[in-house]
């Protein structure tokens, strides 16, 4: 602690008891209502997707929350659909062992590059085939976001809300 912060600049100095009281209170506040362990990771991933300056697709599924598709945490298999003004993507998510497989279908069909970006900074990428289908296999479970990018500059740039795979 530096000399400058010993006084609070106005009425009275902070003393060691103040510091001890606040330290004890901080521990109680944190114990009472701990920050969810993956919240920072979630926020960081969401920010990195936002930095792509891409259009955020909308989740089409009942009961889903705006932030992450955690409502349907994938246990065995599920299907989620995202839409945007130009493109929709339907994704079948299945689990095999500890890994996740995504079978996707982009409509209308076009050769978009598909990236699955994970919270740890790793990414899985592929390209849609002529029918607009793509497969991403062997993905570790955890938070991720899909990014769909057209090869041409004026084509769509899209991201999905976060998925909890």
């Amino acid at each position: 602690m530096s000399v400058e912060d010993v006084h609070d600049g106005a009425s009275r100095p902070i003393d060691d008891v103040d510091v001890a009281v606040l330290a004890a209170l901080g521990r109680l506040v944190d114990d009472a209502d701990p920050v969810p362990p993956d919240l920072v990771e979630r926020c960081t991933l969401a920010m990195s997707l936002a930095l792509l300056d891409a259009e955020l697709m909308e989740l089409v599924a009942e009961g889903a929350l705006a932030g992450a598709v955690r409502a349907e945490r994938v246990t065995e298999a599920s299907t989620v659909t995202f839409t945007s003004s130009e493109v929709s993507v339907m994704v079948d998510i299945s689990r095999r062992g500890g890994r996740v497989r995504l079978d996707g279908w982009v409509a209308p069909a076009r050769g978009l590059r598909v990236e699955l970006r994970r919270a740890d900074g790793t990414a899985f990428a592929t390209t849609c085939d002529a029918d607009g289908r793509f497969v991403l296999d062997g993905v570790p479970s955890g938070l991720a976001g899909l990014v769909l990018l057209a090869a041409e500059d004026d084509g769509p740039r899209l991201t999905t809300p976060l998925l909890e795979l």
Binding site: A10, I14, A24, D30, D33, V35, L39, R42, A50
Partner: protein, 209 residues
């Protein structure tokens, strides 16, 4: 809502506090460098979490609010006029978003614990009381005395001290200022809340001895 006009000028030869690091994160972000942003997000997210929860939001919705505020920060990076006000922008945005979410009542899980709240309190204060943690771990008598003493403070002091308590001492002033205390009264205000708490603690039982 009080927006602070007199923010303290942080970083004036005092090393980086949270406000200064927020400014640094924003300036870097505008230049395409996300380096300083990561540690800043790690350190500020707990403050945003408890801010959102203090408005009475359930866990899932509070997470969505915090995530949404960070995303908006990225989206609005070019439009935040004063980089020094980033911490304040984040706290105020979180409180407003959480308040709106609580008001809209979508998926709000108001908890039952309203014990100790005076009946005449305003709506926002009731929401705050509803978010009072139920599962606080009171390890000993000192914890219990402290928790009860904080609960007896007015809402403004309670909110201030609970957030200030989450940061290290060099950041007390930055967080106090970001919560809307004009710089001239940071001391008295923080002093007022801390003094009230100290008075509570110095009663019978003697937390401070």
């Amino acid at each position: 809502m009080t927006l602070v006009q007199d923010r303290p000028r942080s970083g004036d030869g005092r090393g980086s506090d949270l406000a200064e690091r927020g400014a640094d994160a924003l300036r870097s972000l505008r230049e395409g460098d996300t380096g300083p942003l990561g540690p800043f997000v790690t350190d500020v997210t707990p403050l945003l979490w408890h801010t959102a929860r203090s408005q009475g939001l359930g866990e899932a919705e509070a997470q969505d609010v915090v995530q949404g505020v960070w995303v908006r920060f990225v989206d609005h990076a070019a439009r935040i006029a004063d980089p020094g006000a980033v911490l304040q922008w984040l706290l105020v945005s979180t409180r407003r978003a959480a308040w709106r979410a609580a008001r809209d009542g979508r998926r709000v899980e108001l908890r039952d614990d309203v014990g100790g709240e005076e009946p005449g309190a305003a709506g926002a204060s009731r929401a705050h009381a509803a978010a009072d943690p139920e599962r606080v771990v009171l390890r000993d008598e000192r914890d219990r005395l402290l928790w009860e003493a904080v609960a007896r403070l007015d809402e403004r002091c309670r909110t201030l001290l609970r957030l200030v308590a989450l940061v290290d001492r060099p950041d007390y002033a930055a967080v106090s200022a970001a919560l809307g205390m004009p710089v001239g009264s940071i001391g008295p205000t923080r002093g007022r809340c801390l003094a009230k708490l100290r008075t509570e603690l110095e009663g019978p039982g003697g937390w401070t001895r």
